[in-house]
């Protein structure tokens, strides 16, 4: 008896829809085993992770706040991945966007600059992220360098650059030597939507990004070009679409969204520039993009789900003394299962009972 993968005659659309759910299910089973090994009750651990955060308004708002950067970044990444351009460096673009926007906040600090500051910061963040993303894209197009490696390595460059700024030139003189800028002025801060709440304007921007992504992909010729160049590169060339141009474009959009997410995070929930502004949003967004099937609406749902794991992870750390790193393990296992389940769209499992005779030699 053996288990084989058999190619399906055509792709299964049902599986395409439920594959992320199967992946989530398998992840939960694996996590239960992991909790049991850690000596925690799996049922109550999963309850703290996935149910408790949904029961109070603060946590619900917090989920939306965490989902905002994840969704914005993942929308951009999905464009890259659809076009077969592998941007792994959204984390770096997020940080550079945060730095670029913060520059204006630091420069205008304490002046009577008007309400133009925040829009300008968002714009600077987007530009900074886009330019930073164009470095690996240009290296790819001009020299054939692997964008996977270059974009990933630039994450660490960005991380150290931010670190240098807040420890050096931009450090708050009244900050007791902590590596941080001074709190941003109100005009340089993303406003909250409900007084006293956590939800901020960034949530609206993320929703706009989802809508724009959906329209771009399904209604415009550029979106069509992006999809064709990834799905059938030779047909795309035959259609007259320039794959190099599309690599540059998708990297630029992706970098812009990541950069804007970065400055929103800094000028919103964090309030100042400091190291560690991101718990790995740029990497987690890769999971969000795939879990959401590279589809804007799917990404919105997947983004909320992964945000839930961040909040749940924090609560589990407090309530059950489960290390926060377990959240990263969870996210990693989830990506693994999402990609594995995707093979079921084109293949199916088949049990073969009577194995054919073992091949004999030729002589």
């Amino acid at each position: 008896m053996q288990l084989v993968l058999e190619k399906r005659a055509e792709r299964s659309n049902t599986i395409a829809l439920i594959s992320p759910l199967i992946a989530i299910g398998l992840t939960l089973v694996t996590m239960s085993i992991l909790f049991a090994i850690l000596g925690k009750n799996p049922i109550s651990a999963l309850g703290v992770y996935f149910i408790d955060p949904l029961t109070d308004s603060y946590s619900l708002q917090e989920i939306a706040v965490k989902a905002t950067p994840l969704v914005m970044i993942a929308i951009g990444l999905s464009l890259c991945y659809l076009a077969n351009a592998w941007n792994i460096g959204a984390e770096g673009q997020f940080l550079i966007g945060a730095v670029a926007g913060s520059w204006l906040a630091v420069k205008t600090q304490g002046t009577d600059a008007g309400p133009w500051v925040l829009p300008a910061m968002l714009l600077l963040g987007a530009i900074g992220g886009a330019l930073y993303a164009l470095i690996p894209a240009i290296c790819k197009v001009r020299f054939g360098a692997s964008e996977i490696l270059t974009s990933l390595m630039l994450v660490y460059v960005a991380d150290l650059f931010l670190d240098y700024l807040v420890r050096g030139p931009w450090r708050d003189p009244k900050g007791f030597n902590f590596p941080t800028t001074a709190e941003f002025d109100p005009v340089a801060t993303v406003p909250v939507l409900i007084e006293g709440g956590r939800l901020h304007l960034g949530g609206i921007i993320a929703l706009v990004a989802v809508a724009a992504g959906a329209v771009l992909l399904s209604r415009t010729i550029k979106g069509f070009e992006i999809r064709v160049v990834g799905a059938a590169p030779r047909a795309a060339r035959f259609g007259g679409f320039n794959s190099n141009q599309l690599i540059l474009l998708t990297f630029a959009i992706s970098g812009a969204l990541a950069g804007m997410a970065g400055i929103i995070e800094v000028a919103g929930p964090v309030g100042h520039l400091q190291p560690g502004i991101s718990p790995g949003y740029g990497f987690t967004a890769i999971i969000v993009a795939f879990l959401g099937r590279l589809n804007p609406v799917g990404i919105l749902i997947a983004g909320l789900f992964l945000a839930l794991t961040f909040i749940g992870g924090e609560q589990a750390q407090i309530a059950m003394k489960i290390p926060l790193d377990v959240t990263k393990v969870f996210q990693g296992i989830l990506l693994f299962f999402v990609l594995a389940c995707d093979s079921l769209i084109l293949y199916r499992f088949k049990l073969i009972f009577a194995s054919p005779k073992v091949s004999r030699g030729a002589h």
Binding site: K222, V228, F238, G239
Partner: protein, 523 residues
Amino acid sequence: MPDSTPAELHTGATPLLQTVGLTKRYGTFLANEAIDIDIWPQQIHALLGENGAGKSTLVKAIYGLIQPSEGEMRWQGDKMVLSGPSEARSRGIGMVFQHFSLFDNLTVAENVALGLDGKESFKDMSARLEQVSRVYGLPLDPRREVWQLSVGERQRIEIVRALMQNPKFLILDEPTAVLTPQEADQLFVVLDRLKAEGRAILYISHKLEEVKRLCDTATILRGGKKISTCNPKAETAGSLARMMVGGEIKEVKAAANRQTTVPRLVVNELNLEPDDPHGVRLQHISFELKGGEILGIAGVAGNGQDELFAALSGERQAQDPGTIVIDGQAAGHLSITQRRKLGAAFVPEERLGHGTAPRMKLSENALLTGHAASGMVQHGFVNTAATLKTVDRATETFDVRKAKRDPEAASLSGGNLQKFIVGREILRNPAVLVVSQPTWGVDAGAAAVIRQALLDLAASGAAVLVTSQDLDELAEITDRIAVMFHGHLSEPMATSEASREKLGLLMGGSTLEHKEAAHAVGA
């Protein structure tokens, strides 16, 4: 190897190989349904059928590549279950595939060694390779690297490799599809000799004249079932075709008073370096194609046809704008989109992955080549209604059969997808249509529709350039024919004067003198 004849041959009452009720199911689809076939020694047995008739499935089962779902195979009267091709080979079944499995950067001898299961030393094997190739008149230099060889020579490697196993039964899958008429004649001599040695041959083909000439028996498959086993010499090409297709095939008719007008596609001294190291360099290609005219380009695959298509379509651009002129406009430097805007349309050889994006809907594939013109895109937004209308019109005009209004390209059969692709381009009323292998792997009904569409397009005043390896097709629809060899294009000649002999010589790369002589004889 003192004696190359198989030791024991059963010429008696038992067939060498029998399939009894052989059935192969893929899900609910029956690729082969209860097929009985008897292969006798010393016979060339033709296996005829259209694409999708089940020929490959049957042959794969016989060669051990797939397991039949039901029924059995008998080898010299005994039940045979094959675990894989290597067991088939050890029994004495050899196969020459249509698509070669050769490594371009290895030598002939290295390639043969990789395909043999034997344990003899490389030196002995090389010596035996040379001997076998000499004995059968299939000359090969074991030390040459494959990429330097012509397609015909590559096929020789595959045949010699199969013969070195001393098979009792040899399967050949469309062997003449890639050969010049002269090369095919040489192959027939070899096959006759193999037959005389007592071997059995299963010859897959859809070239009926060839089958009538060469084969002793023919089995015709249609829709996975055996229709008949007959003596092809006693049949006519028409009766064989009717059995294959299951009905009459529509005759293709050229309009009676077609008139040629001004030159619509002119190529002047086109030279192009290949972009891949094993590609072909286009050299001094010049021709002129008038409106109302169909020019055919014959030639063995791999002689620069792909490169010419890329250069004409603009997938690769030439340095000098004047090398390609579309409707009076220098276009050598233009992109494929700009050339489409000048009224050119293109149909590449590969339907899936080149002509269409396989996993995208037909409407999206209409957009693929229609976005430049025809109002499918307004201010960057796609007009879905317009793309769907193109699908509907192509469906109606060219009888594209599909399960729903707008399915994925990959879900269509080869013939229907090709009708859609050709239809998509013709509906744009092109001034120039460049089409490569228009009916490759397409069923007879669809082929007739496509050829008629090309004739009608020319009759409406467009210039049509057809590249094909099928000389019968070119004879049927073209006005003039030129031959491509090693990146050179011969002077076009009137189709009425292009005999198979003359074309065959040019396809084999005969020198200029030969060419002149051939002209003189023909004229």
